[in-house]
Amino acid sequence: MSETVAIIDYGSGNLHSAAKAFERAAREAEVDRRIVVTGDPAIVAAADRVVLPGVGAYADCRRGLDAVPGMVAAMEEAAHARARPFLGICVGMQLLATRGLEYTVTPGLGWIPGDVGPIRPADPTLKIPHMGWNTLVAGSHPLLAGIPTGNEGLHAYFVHSYALKADRPADVVAEVDYGGPVTAMVARDTVAGTQFHPEKSQRLGLALLANFLKWRP
């Protein structure tokens, strides 16, 4: 029986194209995975892999997540009790932090201790949002296996004004240079998160999604 990958639907934008990106990554990596977009906590709790997307404002996303009764508990069940691979994307990654500081202070999930605050580039002429394609400064992680990083590496698509500042440096797997280092990817045990959008990042993105679908932490 093929593994089930649950993409959590909590009213945060279009997930159809994200699902298509996962389906294509699975096809190209020749792994058999059933991709489901779901707002049902029971399906999330029982899934083999879980994806938490997120676009928009932090507090809005948190409200959306809390509006689905049992969803946060279901995520805890999958990621912690059952140790299933879990991937947060963009605001979904930021929600892994302790707190979001966008507009108001909003509690996050607290899985990756740290705060999500405004990007403050050393060079004041740099535009905010950090929007577009940038390379990664990365350590090694199974999700980045086979992906060239560094100045000559592949590019990831970013669009954000806030970034996660992790309390534990070991939780930061990749950074991006935007007037100084900005967190691009975090990971701890079975949980990972990308600030960039792998589902919009062409080659790098499809490779990372394929790695996630095969990840056995």
Partner: protein, 258 residues
């Protein structure tokens, strides 16, 4: 390092590309999805659909085009044209657009930008500003915002309007010179520069590209974060790869791995 983006723009009417895309042997050059796939493969950094359908009733066709494109292309897609309300923004985002451009409605009601940004995040709200130079020779340069494809003057100063919508929550500005659009004589660099210097958000230069040096100038002199072009790509005059190579050779940071 963040790279300069190249954004091909397709005019779409009743679900079909107007000014057909001729640069590749497409099975159906009038199908926006086919054109989008070709640009995806060609290494475009983003794609822009501008819906010029006159009637509001035909929106369903556009939503279908957007959703089929989003399923086939794993790159960012901006959609504009005829966006009048928060509900229009929502419908486009749900169909699979990553960003939505608001033009006339932002002039009529700048608070629409604030409402949309609060709801969906500033990162997906683009305000498209169509501007015409209204200062006489010898006067300090001034530009006025126009709507309806450059037909209707608004009395609004383009720089002041750019500041207003950026403050309301626009995450990006698409600045088109109506004087240059379609002339192939290059961007209005003074306009691009004046707006890029006035706001903290990224600016996309648009209107008037005739050759690859114009793309370079849009960034180097205009201060744009991204350059939008239509006909030089659609008609096969240049490929996206040629444009990137040219811009990189001029010293601009480009994404060449696509």
């Amino acid at each position: 390092m963040l790279k300069t983006r190249i954004i091909p723009c397709l005019d779409v009417k009743d679900g079909r590309v107007v000014k057909g895309v001729q640069f590749l042997e497409l099975r159906d050059a009038g199908d926006p999805v086919e054109a989008a796939k070709a640009y995806d493969a060609a290494g475009a950094d983003e794609l822009c659909f501008l819906d010029i359908t006159a009637s509001h009733e035909a929106r369903g066709t556009l939503l279908d085009v957007v959703s089929r494109t989003a399923e086939a292309c794993f790159m960012p897609l901006t959609v504009g044209g005829g966006v009048r309300a928060v509900e229009d923004v929502r419908a486009l985002l749900l169909a699979g657009a990553d960003k939505v451009a608001i033009n006339t409605a932002a002039v009529k009601d700048p608070d629409l930008v604030a409402r949309a940004a609060e709801k969906f995040g500033a990162q997906c709200i683009v305000v498209a500003i169509d501007a015409k130079r209204v200062s006489g020779p010898g006067e300090p340069a001034r530009w006025e915002v126009f709507t309806h494809g450059g037909r209707n003057p608004t009395g609004l100063d383009a720089i002041a309007f750019a500041r207003t919508v950026a403050a309301k929550g626009a995450g990006e500005l698409l600045v088109t010179s109506m004087d240059r659009d379609g002339t192939r004589s290059g961007y209005d660099l003074a306009l691009t520069r004046a707006i890029a210097d006035a706001v903290a958000v990224p600016v996309i230069a648009s209107g008037g590209v005739g050759g690859l040096d114009d793309l370079v100038a849009g960034v180097a002199e205009g201060g744009a974060s991204a350059v939008l072009a239509a006909s030089i790509f659609h008609f096969g005059q240049h490929s996206v790869a040629e444009a990137k190579a040219h811009m990189a050779a001029a010293g601009l940071a480009m994404r060449l791995d696509a």
